[in-house]
Amino acid sequence: MHAGVKVQIEHVALAFGSTKVLRDIDLLIEPGEFFGLLGPSGCGKSTLLRIIAGFNRAQTGRVRIGGEDITAVPPWNRNVGMVFQSYALWPHMSVAENVAFGLEERRLPRSEVRRKVAEALELVGLAAFAGRRPGQLSGGQQQRVALARTIAVEPRVLLLDEPLSNLDARLRVHMRRELVALQRKLGVTTLFVTHDQEEAMTTCARIALMDQGVIQQVGTPVDLFDRPANRFVAEFVGTINLLHGRLERAAGGGDGVAFLSESAGPLSLPLAEGIPGQGEASIAFRPHGVLVAERASDAARVWLSGTVTEREFLGEFVRYHVRAGTADLIADQPHYFGVRDFPRGAQVRLGIDPGQVRLLQR
């Protein structure tokens, strides 16, 4: 296995007719990294993967693997392994024949093909199924065959195109752990395309979040969650409250600023590093950083008044939808035995922890 090859994507752009699918994509994927391409459907993530595999050709820009420019190399000479969303197992071949295919195409001696097929099937725990046809396997087993077929040829890079989306929820969690374990064992640079943020955040060391053919942010899952670069990232990753408004210097020249929300009214915030003194801005804060109480208690928090419009009981926590001014805010309260519960229509105070508030430029 080619442990540790770097993948560089430089100024890649592609349009189908007048639809810009990818605009000036720049990415550096570190050797051996488990890297995620995350985004809503149609954001261009699969197209980018197909460009790396050679099935689509970028109109501008280049792709380098291990420093080598492969932009003009046909798919069959790239040695980039791809696991397809549909698995694309050949129904007219047995499991072993499927896995042997790539090795045969590389003209390896028969004995070596046999050895490597056995190894790959062993690795995914399907040694006993070598003689079966793909149609006789379950979805999870087919997925493993697709994986075995790809890693058998020891590709320089492993591309996974929504490999778990055809599995049921339980199996998906199980397979994603196996995938991570396997990748760790092989050490191969891996690109993982998914629209499922939980899948991306639990498996990937770093994630590129894409929307409308543009990379919105690249970072670790924690980066994306805690320091969203823009509104799209903030809203896509997890659940978040967003308020739009203006920043103004606090009256009296203190060390705070006033945020005048268009919908929820004025909020005073401490002036933190990197926050401009004034101008148009949005603030974002997570529901679990908001306290729901009968009256304002903790002076360190910023308090708003509102009415509970919806209450969803989710077991571990209760999600309140609260109308404050004209803003609809979400607050998650941990639930445990005996905790105070607020019914629909209750007048409440929302306590926002200023340390958890992120400021976004408009």
């Binding site: 595999a53 050679g54 099935f55 050709r57 003009a72 046909p74 798919p75 069959w76 000479n77 790239r78 040695n79 980039v80 392994g81 791809m82 397809f84 969303q85 549909s86 698995y87 694309a88 197992l89 050949w90 129904p91 007219h92 295919f101 790539g102 195409e105 590389r106 046809r133 793909p134 149609g135 006789q136 379950s138 979805g139 087919q142 697709a146 077929r149 790809t150 040829v153 055809n166």
Partner: protein, 562 residues
């Protein structure tokens, strides 16, 4: 891809285009050209004027139209009730109906025609019985009636099958929502069910029209010559290849076929409703009331008997020593088969050779076109598809005459044989005319093979050519085989081109042999025996490919990821 296509793709496309232009477009255009020009090459409508001045020609024209339209009508009368029963009602006759859909097609109309004469003709079995019992006779096989009768029994499955599929694809919810909004009974049928099934009916009916309008074999065997196709054949063979009236007729045949095909395409455009929602079933089935059941079964049994009559007739004829003026043959014998095997084994061999080669050419070209159209971005690739499909509307008479005229004087390289006097001309003619069947089959097969199956092969190191060979073609194998069989069996019973292109008996295929035998009273027995052999061949071929395809589609279905 950087460039949108490779040079190899372009080369293959050009080679196919050259083949189609040389052996489809050029002969047909030659026919049209001759119809519109004088001997010195100047444009003229004089040939048309002469055509219209000959009363036999006017009569033939009217007769051909009449026969084609009447056949569509009779086919509809037979097929519409059956299609409706099967789809609409909880009816246990599905096997019978499927049989009805296949049986007529494996018996070429011109083969069955002689037997029908013996069964339903003026002094045939039925009329002998009728006059003995009731002192009446039915002139069902007289003149044009005979052609309509024989063609209807042969071609109604086209309407039956298309209509059944169309009806079966109507979602219950379509009907139920209409009922929910207050429609019922005939209004429901007229406003919802019928319009939704219309595309299927039109597709079938236009095909029947074209086939009957262009048919040469059936009228000739029934000795009806005052129709267009027989007249074209007679003009060209008796007056000569130079006679312009023959070409005028050919132009009319081509024109009407293209108009019918184009008209149905126009009608169907935008009406190919995807009516079946995911997981839904066809129209709700209802129980038949006892008298409805009786009527349905009676109808189907009557049609089945009629459909079987040419089969039974041909079989009896092939086993009879003499059969005339009697209800059934009086003396039975196997001599006819012996005669056929000693005298005509060469023709059987010729058929296997010509049709085998033609079908091979068809599946190779069919696979190539399917791949170019569905898997590449080669500019103009659709043209190949359209061009190949146009062959469907090309009457065999026209192509036959076109070949004789366009390729006269052309000799095969390294021999002294003229192309038109060689076996090769059959291979070319059959392959061009049967290409649409093979092409549809290959297209259907390839569209079932998901692109990712090919891409994964390329991803693992297989070049485009290798992934086609190792993945695409094996996965298409069923469809390719079905295409081969369809091309082969339909070519084996082709008669229009065959009659025209047979220059010597030693080159003739068995369809010509059947036709030739049927010309004389004494030859009917051996002709029928040869017909039985042809029908068995066609039947077994169709059955085998159907069985293979069926098993295959189940296997592939199971192989699809969940």
């Amino acid at each position: 891809m950087n460039s949108r296509f490779s040079t190899a793709q372009a080369a293959v496309a050009l080679a196919i285009a050259a083949f189609l232009v040389a052996f489809l477009v050029y002969p047909v255009l030659t026919v049209v050209y001759v119809a519109f020009t004088n001997a010195d090459g100047t444009l003229t409508f004089g040939h048309f004027a002469s055509f219209m001045q000959i009363s036999l020609m006017r009569e033939s024209f009217a007769n051909s139209l009449y026969v084609a339209l009447m056949t569509v009508l009779v086919c509809s009368l037979i097929a519409v009730p059956i299609a409706y029963f099967t789809v609409r009602f909880d009816f246990r006759g599905a096997v019978l109906v499927q049989t009805l859909g296949v049986l007529p097609l494996i018996m070429p109309a011109f083969v069955g025609a002689s037997a029908m004469q013996l069964l339903f003709g003026r002094s045939g079995s039925v009329n002998l019985l009728l006059s003995a019992w009731f002192d009446v006779t039915v002139p069902i096989m007289d003149g044009l009636n005979g052609v309509i009768f024989v063609e209807s029994l042969h071609y109604f499955p086209f309407i039956l099958m298309n209509l059944t599929v169309a009806l079966a694809n109507i979602d219950t919810a379509m009907e139920e929502s209409a009922q929910n909004l207050g429609a019922s009974g005939l209004r429901l049928f007229r406003r919802v069910v019928f319009p939704l099934a219309m595309p299927g009916y039109v597709a079938g009916a236009s095909l029947v029209f074209i086939k009957v309008f262009d048919d040469l074999g059936t009228p000739l065997v029934l000795n009806v010559t005052n129709m267009l196709a027989p007249q074209a054949y007679l003009r060209v063979t008796s007056i000569g290849i130079e006679d312009p009236i023959g070409y005028v007729i050919c132009f009319l045949l081509v024109g009407f076929s293209i108009v019918a095909m184009w008209g149905s395409t126009l009608f169907l455009r935008g009406r190919e409703y995807a009516t079946l929602q995911r997981g839904a079933t066809g129209l709700a089935r209802r129980r038949l009331s006892p008298w409805q059941t009786a009527f349905a079964y009676a109808w189907i049994v009557v049609v089945l008997l009629l459909v079987l009559s040419p089969h039974i007739g041909v079989l009896l004829l092939s086993l009879s020593k003499v059969w005339s003026f009697s209800v059934v043959p009086e003396i039975y014998t196997l001599d006819n088969y012996a005669t056929v095997f000693t005298d005509s084994s060469r023709m059987i061999g010729n058929t296997l050779l010509y049709c085998g080669l033609a079908a091979l050419v068809d599946v190779v070209i069919g696979t190539a076109i399917a791949y170019l159209v569905l898997r590449t971005r080669l500019p103009g690739r659709q043209i190949l598809d359209h061009l190949a499909t146009v062959a469907l509307a090309m009457p065999g008479v026209v192509l036959g005459i076109g070949y004789l005229r366009a390729f006269r004087g052309i000799e095969l390289p390294f021999t002294d044989t003229a192309l038109t006097a060689s076996g090769l001309i059959f291979v070319l003619a059959y392959s061009v005319r049967r290409l649409p069947y093979a092409l549809r089959s290959c297209m259907a097969a390839l569209s079932q093979v998901h692109v990712s199956l090919e891409e994964s092969a390329q991803n693992l190191g297989a070049t485009r050519a290798r992934s086609i060979r190792r993945i695409v073609v094996p996965l298409m194998a069923g469809g390719i085989l079905a295409g081969f069989v369809t091309s082969f069996v339909t070519a084996a019973v082709e008669i229009s081109e065959t009659i025209l292109l047979t220059s010597r008996e030693s080159l003739a295929p068995m369809s010509y042999g059947i036709y030739l035998y049927m010309q004389s009273i004494a030859g009917r027995g051996p002709g029928a025996a040869l017909g039985v052999i042809a029908v068995v061949m066609v039947g077994l071929g169709s059955y085998a490919s159907h069985r293979y395809l069926h098993g295959r589609s189940i296997a592939l279905e199971a192989g699809r990821p969940g």
